[in-house]
Symmetry: C2
Subunit: 201 residues, 2 copies
DNA sequence: CTCTTCGTTGCACTCAGTGCAGTAAATGAC
DNA sequence: GTCATTTACTGCACTGAGTGCAACGAAGAG
């Protein structure tokens, strides 16, 4: 925790560029819209070269949505802590809520970004890192492969629906409420393991 | 049905180009992979110009997944026939199964396409037309807006999970079975209309 | 036959994304 | 301290997706 860990000058440099680029991207796209901002604009606003942008982000959309490495590690940690849950679906809901509570500051900005219809298309691609983390966990927790795939995909569906249903003018807590309601309105049963004992793990 | 309707020479011309392009796209990408095929390749294989490609499809991925207009109309018809269902979620499942039964011929090809990890990213974008059709229906059938958004998003999640869980070497019926199982493993409750009478419509 | 419509085409352009070579500064070994 | 190595950044050239525009020619309407 407080993972400041004394970073070397190089690490600090790299992190500064990363943050400057993401900040510039969010700012510019928030004001002009996704299509009206070029990678050159973002790089210039961040004070780095165009090539450096692609050293940090694989795509333009990634600059908007890629998680701070600390956050990514935190999600993995939360999921690991939920290993062996008796009710994996509700455990997923709890992990998501917990993960999102620390993001309330950026939620409104990103929600407004997705109001742009052209940007909505990038959401899927954008939150891939969450999907990836979920995929691994869910494969361990659900014996039934179809149920596992369903749980991961449905989690993404619930988060996306709650996100879109949320009015960014409302406080972020409302969004968390929607997530909670979503996880109760939708229910993924654990299924039955084709070759294993049903019910128990 | 048999909607041949005697098309004019122009309509026939346009439809021929459309089909030639989609056939060429599926064929080439199936053999070489998505990234190794350019729009020029597809246009050349279809015997039309590169510019004509973009007159028919907005993106390269669209050439692979955009539905034949007849199919799109059929989906709308199926949904309209399900208006006023007492159990909207199960009605959605039935519509999806019914819609997919006529696509068994192309299912295996498309499933193999998505095995390519770079192509999986395009799936979301690719099946947008289904999402769009669902969005409208679901907004009419679910009084609770969150439940409506959840139903549409979750339907996509179920179809996607079943599709990925399906082994394309197995007969297409197995895929339909997975869809059926998916719609029972996952359950979206109709929720409660914030301002209306609960339960009844 | 004449005028309009429209599918198609070629051309020029912007921009996303990649490969490669080079610079300069931070790092580590001695 | 010096020297070799690493590495963040940079510039340049290139491929390919997607768009705007003007033009050609055949189909359709009168």
């Amino acid at each position: 925790m407080r993972g400041v860990e004394r970073l070397s000058a190089r690490e600090a440099q790299r992190r500064d560029s990363w943050r400057a680029l993401q900040a510039a991207a969010v700012d510019l796209v928030g004001r002009r819209g996704f299509a009206a901002v070029t990678v050159d604009d973002i790089a210039a606003a961040a004070g780095v070269s165009r090539r450096t942008f692609f050293n940090h982000f694989p795509t333009k959309a990634a600059a908007l949505f890629d998680p701070d490495p600390d956050d990514a590690a935190r999600l993995s940690g939360l999921l690991a802590a939920a290993d062996g849950a008796t009710d994996p679906w509700m455990a997923l809901g709890a992990v998501c809520r917990e993960y999102l509570t620390t993001h309330t500051a950026t939620l409104a900005v990103r929600r407004r970004l997705t109001a742009d219809p052209e940007l909505a298309a990038y959401q899927q691609d954008a939150y891939r890192h969450i999907q990836t983390a979920l995929d691994g966990w869910v494969r361990r927790e659900y014996a039934d492969p179809l149920a596992a795939a369903l749980a991961a995909a449905t989690t993404g569906a619930v988060l996306g629906a709650a996100f879109r249903a949320w009015d960014p003018d409302d406080p972020p807590d409302r969004f968390l409420d929607l997530v909670t309601r979503g996880f109760t309105l939708v229910r993924v049963s654990p299924g039955r393991a084709p070759g294993r004992a049903p019910g128990r793990r």
